[in-house]
């Protein structure tokens, strides 16, 4: 069963912050985040393993709470280049073959 992302769309001004959430109805082993720009393939941002860790990539960070089966992606001081669709992917175990994606959150950063 695929994870659920919220919100579906976000519009920001440059410099503003945003949070994208990803939740699953099943136990998670790992959560991974991707960004897809229009007309391009999704690009891997980061992976989080169970243990509640946080990670960062540029001014983008994420947390993973395996008890709540949730992950959140934090975009701080957003830049125009952050625009795109963000997907979370989840794996229920070490078997990578069971990875599924959320429906995506479209982020638009305006000047």
């Amino acid at each position: 069963q695929q994870p659920v992302q919220s919100p579906q769309a976000v519009i920001l001004r440059e410099g503003e912050d945003a949070v994208i959430n990803c939740s699953s109805s099943k136990a998670l082993y790992s959560v991974h985040w991707y960004r897809q720009k229009h007309g391009e393939a999704p690009v891997f941002l980061m992976i989080l393993l169970k243990g509640g860790e946080q990670k960062g990539h540029e001014k983008i960070s994420a947390s993973f709470n395996e008890k709540k089966q949730q992950s959140s992606l934090y975009l701080t001081a957003s830049q125009l280049s952050y625009s795109g669709t963000y997907f979370c992917g989840t794996a229920g175990g070490t078997n990578a073959g069971k990875s599924t994606f959320g429906d995506g959150t479209t982020l638009t950063v305006k000047p």
Partner: protein, 111 residues
């Protein structure tokens, strides 16, 4: 060197035709996938292979048949193409924890 490459990038064909999309990865990953991304940008898994063995086969018409001659290749053959098959098809590969690396996508248009 391209990590995950798929060909062709664009494919325009008539209804009823049979077509194939090829995918190759040079990352040494054990798992490969086919995803379909429709006009609403939803990224749906179609198939997953682990070491040449089919491990995920989502509800996909049996007109779609994946073939994995070795763990570095996963091709997708589509019979009797229909208008609704028009979409962008992404090949991806991953290792263990689910982090997926995507090919550039094949935009299939059925007319």
């Amino acid at each position: 060197d391209t990590a995950v490459s798929q060909t062709p990038k664009y494919l325009v064909t008539q209804m009823g035709n049979d077509k194939s999309i090829k995918c190759e990865q040079n990352l040494g990953h054990d798992t490969m996938y086919w995803y379909k991304q429709d006009s609403k940008k939803f990224l749906k898994i179609m198939f997953s292979y682990n070491n040449k063995e089919l491990i995920i086969n989502e509800t996909v018409p049996n007109r779609f048949s994946p073939k994995s001659p070795d763990k570095a290749h996963l091709n997708l053959h589509i019979n009797s193409l229909e208008l609704g098959d028009s979409a962008v098809y992404f090949c991806a590969s991953s290792q263990l924890l689910g982090t997926a690396f995507f090919g550039q996508g094949t935009r299939l248009t059925v007319v």
